[in-house]
């Protein structure tokens, strides 16, 4: 193998001085020449890769580092080509013992004192502990693809296995985009019915006249062109779970039919003469307040009590702001995988905008915002400029309150600024130019609730 002497790139320092400097760094550091052969290799690099300095010097860097990106997306090669640094890119290496380690790497060009290009330098850090912790946290706050650390949601996560085990009807209430179908699927997957189908029907998407045949099926000859029997969703969900989304949109005549199906546990296909027994668990969902609709006479009280055996209320995203960073992290990882990109996350400015937005479309809207930012983001980090403009409009609107008492204005201003600072009181106090104990007094006197 080609033997290469270490390059003395720190002018004025001898080779051994250079090694002392490099060895005192906790991060792995190695340098390569223009042929990708290693010219220096510090102690931390030996420890992380499991390859001794003597064995590493003069070798191709890919053979020593053994990273998953070495052959197709080499960071050093990219830096050498473009001259641009790469900072904290997460990759996996396989060390000499066969352990797969996540590391964070950064690269830069290496020049001598005259500016002549000598090669490149790569620094890397073993992030397996951080990754393990991240996994523990994400598992703790992840329940059947639902991510939250909000106390209400965590209580719900504890209850879901028990609700799933029972066979009773469940009503899920929550605004659009709060994850009603995810909860319904979790209830199904954790129940004894999980081997049988989960069938979802959006009641508002199907006209009333078709909904009946769609749900209960029809017999041949029931109407023109009904040439053969067609099974309905109830039949398809036999022994499983039927998820009736937007149940609040169902017309009164259909409500009567539902009532009979739930009460008698039987249904009749269109054009049929015999009732069919069913064994289907009903999980209904709505984004309306059904209790209110019952009071107003828009929803049948008896049907309401039939489906409302157990009610789950999903809080909107604006009431669980602490979930926003978790969800952002989740969607950044998801879109990185789907779109084969390497966006590291979002910067503080963008985060404060996302934290102070109201999210009428809830988690779905947040997912769309991140997906949009992925299209526009060419750098490694999502910034304010990658976010849609309507997010900023809501910020301005909030701060332009008129005709309110001083207390109201103070309340809103403080709430806004706290949200922007991710509820970090010392940072908020610094931004306002007041002492943090003054801020705490203000929060208390205004009755502000910190998450």
């Amino acid at each position: 193998m080609k033997s290469i002497r270490p390059i003395n790139f720190f002018s004025g320092n001898s080779g051994s001085d250079q090694n002392i400097i490099l060895d005192s760094i906790a991060d792995g550091v190695f340098t390569v020449d223009k042929d990708w052969r290693i010219t220096s290799f510090n102690r931390a690099a030996e420890k992380i890769t499991g390859v001794s300095r003597n064995e590493a010097l003069g070798q191709l860097c890919k053979d020593v580092l053994k990273a998953d990106i070495c052959e197709r997306n080499c960071c050093l090669m990219s830096t050498m080509k473009t001259g641009e640094q790469i900072i904290n890119k997460k990759v996996y290496i396989i060390n000499a013992e066969g352990r797969k380690l996540p590391i964070s790497i950064s690269t830069a060009l290496l020049r001598n004192k005259n500016g002549k290009l000598l090669g490149a330098v790569e620094t890397f850090r073993d992030i397996s502990i951080e990754e393990d912790l991240r996994k523990v946290i994400s598992q703790k706050y992840n329940f059947a693809d639902i991510i939250s650390k909000n106390h209400k949601m965590l209580q719900l996560f504890d209850m879901i296995p028990d609700i799933a085990a029972g066979g009773s009807a469940v009503l899920i209430e929550g605004e659009s985009g709060t994850g009603k179908e995810l909860i319904a699927r979790a209830l199904h997957n954790l129940s004894s019915r999980k081997k049988f189908p989960f069938v979802a029907v959006n009641c508002s998407a199907i006209p009333d006249t078709l909904l009946e045949s769609e749900l209960f099926g029809y017999k041949a000859g029931a109407f023109t062109d009904a040439k053969k029997d067609k099974p309905g969703r109830f039949k398809m969900a036999e022994n499983g779970t039927l998820f009736l989304d937007e149940i609040g949109e169902v017309t009164p005549s259909m409500q009567v039919k539902f009532l009979r199906v739930l009460q008698e546990k039987t249904y009749e296909p269109l054009g049929g003469t015999q009732s069919i027994q069913h064994n289907v668990r009903i999980v209904a969902a709505t984004n309306k307040n059904l209790e209110e609709m019952v009071k107003q006479g828009h929803f049948r009280e008896d049907l309401f009590y039939r489906i409302n055996v157990f009610k789950i209320i999903l809080p909107p995203l604006r009431e669980r702001l602490e979930d926003i960073p978790l969800l952002i992290d989740h969607y950044v990882n998801r879109f990185n995988t789907l779109q084969k990109k390497n966006i590291e996350g979002i910067d503080e400015g963008a985060m404060s905008v996302l934290m102070s937005y109201q999210y009428p479309g809830n988690v779905r809207e947040l997912a769309n915002i991140i997906e949009r930012a992925f299209i526009l983001c060419k750098t490694g980090i999502i910034e304010k400029k990658h976010l849609p403009e309507n997010l900023f409009a809501s910020q301005t609107k909030e701060s332009n309150a008129e005709g309110e008492s001083l207390r109201d204005v103070e309340y809103k201003y403080l709430l806004n600024i706290l949200k922007q600072n991710n509820w970090n009181c010392p940072r908020t106090a610094r931004e306002l130019g007041i002492h943090k104990s003054t801020l705490y007094r203000k929060i208390k006197s205004l009755g502000l609730q910190l998450p």
Partner: protein, 130 residues
């Protein structure tokens, strides 16, 4: 006898876990070699192993490989020669001549794997082409 090599261009791919290409080398009784290139269908370890099994691979020669992946492959009765580097032709010929243990074919710092995990208990049956 079917030998598989995880390859990148005309060399052994540095990391098996993220390799895309496989080269299957078949031999008949007159020691004529037949090379069949194959693309890995998935990066999921179980699917990777299933693909090797589906292709009746007896021996795998690869670059760096994670312990879990290696354990999965050996559990299927496939002999693994890990942490190997070099050009495909020289590796195949070294394998035929039982010379894979030479330092020149081992990734830096990984020689013990060459004489360890992959070769353990296979003395005398490492190459059946001769």
């Amino acid at each position: 006898m079917r030998l598989a090599l995880s390859v990148f261009k005309n060399c052994i791919s540095t990391v098996f876990d993220s390799a895309d290409q496989l080269l299957i080398v078949e031999t008949d009784e007159v020691t004529n070699l037949k090379k069949i290139p194959l693309k890995f269908v998935s990066a999921v370890p179980l699917e990777r192993v299933a693909q090797l099994k589906d292709n009746d691979i007896d021996v795998l020669i690869c670059g760096a490989i994670s312990r879990q992946m290696q354990a999965l492959i050996t559990s299927q009765g496939i002999v693994v020669h890990p942490f190997i580097r070099g050009e495909v032709d020289s590796i195949v010929s070294a394998y035929k001549n039982n010379q894979l243990e030479q330092a020149i074919f081992s990734l830096p710092g990984c020689r013990r794997h060459g004489t360890g995990v992959g070769f353990r208990g296979q003395r005398g049956k490492r190459c059946r082409w001769r």
